[in-house]
Subunit: 170 residues, 2 copies
């Protein structure tokens, strides 16, 4: 990119961005932590739990998403035609546990979104222990997931999941 | 905020966010640099040039905006009911030149939005030299402003401003 800075600024200061902090700042605005819980009759509890962490960039640009993909060493980038953004997303438990969550403990978000990160982290740890494969574990996960992203869309409500569990147990 | 991290993470790493880099990351997602040019018959060139730098936060939360306001030491925070966001904004030339622009030279944005910052910076420096009060300077500023935020809304096009100037000179 051509340097468009006025001459007054030229050479006066060195660039010195701290990448992990920059990424946390970007994620505070554009990141989304979700846990989707969908019916899956072939599973013993009847529901599949899938954690996901995505970051959006407006327009057709993906500069920051490429930096984030390289930094976390996981995830895929794809255009989201529904809202004209590009999204980087990872839904794999191991990189979430080993790379993403330790990052946000060390470089936490400053907004209330950090609470989502912590609920999300707790759910990922429960999944690592296999708790999503028991009815009690599924309900605890569904409860915490229902407290995340209060303004987000939900396909299934907490009552749907717990109600279906009661039916299965009956 | 209650610490919701699983015990495995407790005390394992210290928080160490670098605030200036965090702010640049946040601004890369949620910041907007604008130069509005509006008719003002009482001014000798007939148009008023106003630079503005704003940062949005979704929902009713303003944690990061308060941090940004304190960091730059200027600007005001207000709810924007049109899109259910809260915005911090500064439109004063002196803090833009003395605090905001040096920050983004030292901690530049990683996306193409950095080009907006540099065009914006050039316009602010021209205004500091009074160039917006001459017809040639106004046209140069309007030209650079027309290259910023290509997806943004514009009330007056470059041709409107230059056309009006030609009429005034005639």
């Amino acid at each position: 990119m051509t340097n468009l800075w006025p001459e007054q600024y030229a050479g006066s200061q060195q660039c010195s961005v701290h990448l992990p902090s920059y990424i946390s700042g970007y994620v505070d605005g554009e990141g989304c932590f979700t846990v989707s819980i969908s019916p899956r009759p072939t599973l013993s509890v009847g529901w599949e739990v899938r954690p996901g962490f995505s970051v959006s960039q407006n327009g057709d640009r993906d500069e920051v998403l490429l930096v984030i993909q390289e930094y976390f060493g996981c995830g895929t980038i794809r255009p989201d035609r529904s809202d004209r953004t590009v999204k980087w997303e990872t839904r794999s438990l191991v990189p979430l546990l080993e790379r993403v969550l330790p990052h946000f403990q060390r470089y936490p978000l400053m907004s209330g979104k950090q609470r989502d990160v912590e609920l999300f982290g707790g759910i990922c740890f429960r999944m690592a222990r296999g708790e999503h494969r028991t009815m009690a574990g599924l309900h605890a996960i569904a409860h915490d997931a229902s407290e995340m992203n209060p303004s987000g869309k939900r396909r299934y409500r907490l009552a749907d999941i717990i109600g279906a569990g009661v039916e299965m147990k009956a």
